[in-house]
Subunit: 202 residues, 2 copies
């Protein structure tokens, strides 16, 4: 699962430093989406940065109940479980159903490297995100779904074409964005239909 990272003494910060060195592995978890205009698949660490900046930049377009700082925190942590559980393509429904238990175990191991109060805080934030149990979590979820669509729309449908994805699949899996941010969804829907006309989506 993971190669050993040496443990160095940093006094009261030893566990946090160890956690930070362990999560370096997220930089090696590959996604289906490629960096725009390149042939390199993005990894989950750089995606998490992009998602966090998206949350920060789109703050004025979130509803008043959304605390954008908590959305940024969720963006930073949401994929850390993939270090153990791997990234599963959003349109691979059977794999997604199977992976939940692995992600829970991964959260326990990885956030478990931290001392309190960070251990409980990070675990609770990740769970809230996973469950979509707050306005913050739903805004975060919406952005995490929107980012690869935006990347595809600006990259000639790269991961849709490479993975043979249909417009129906995109609408079924992402239509929930319409409930969370109707204005963004309205524009996405228009561009998705254009993408199908261009042959980027089946």
């Amino acid at each position: 699962m993971s190669s050993a990272v040496p443990v160095l003494n940093f006094g009261s910060m030893t566990q946090v430093i160890q956690f930070l060195m362990e999560i370096d592995k997220l930089k090696s978890v590959q996604r289906r989406t490629k960096v725009l205009g390149t042939q390199r698949q993005e990894n989950s660490a750089e995606h998490s940065w992009h998602f966090a900046v998206a949350a920060f930049s789109l703050a004025p377009y979130a509803s008043k109940e959304v605390d954008i700082q908590r959305v940024i925190q969720m963006a930073l942590l949401h994929d850390i479980v993939e270090i153990d559980a791997g990234d599963v393509f959003v349109y691979d429904l059977s794999a997604r159903a199977e992976i939940h238990d692995q992600e829970v175990a991964a959260a326990k191991r990885l956030f478990g490297l931290l001392p309190e109060p960070q251990r409980e805080q990070f675990t609770a934030l990740w769970q809230e995100y996973e469950e979509g149990s707050s306005a913050d979590a739903r805004f975060a979820f919406m952005l995490d779904r929107a980012m690869p669509m935006l990347m595809n729309l600006h990259n000639q449908g790269q991961s849709w074409i490479e993975n043979n994805v249909s417009l129906n699949q995109v609408l079924e899996r992402n239509g929930v964005i319409g409930d969370i941010h109707p204005e963004l969804w309205q524009h996405l829907l228009h561009h998705l239909q254009e993408a199908q006309r261009k042959g980027w989506l089946k």
Copy 2:
């Protein structure tokens, strides 16, 4: 400088989406530090994520005057100027002195893609970070300096050895950490001296 990214209409969000697609290029700016245990240089986007999580995780060890949310925001934005100006190695003093004007121009162009209030907010945060003009900026600066040292200490001195760096250089460039976080610096200093004994630093 930059290949053209198509501009799609997203109503009031068009400029922000365009900004987000433009800053995808940070994923292609390479640093000297390699991802732990690999031969791949990390890029400035994944470094920014790592730095932001470090800020979040180390919040309990910051002084009370530090607002960790603003530190996270600085971490997310601090390297975006490198899209135009490039990454300069921390020990390349002549190149660092020359690059400042380019970075100011880059901030103007890149944050200038945003509408208000984000344009002014992001520019001001980046300037505050650059100038070290607040407790938040100094904590952020300290962490940005600490991260590659931590990576090197956990990766057999990789970028120090590859770039022929000496202990004296590290102490001169990073000793300021001792003023900002004496406890972290005390531990780093011990490990840096060990690193020299192992031949990782000249």
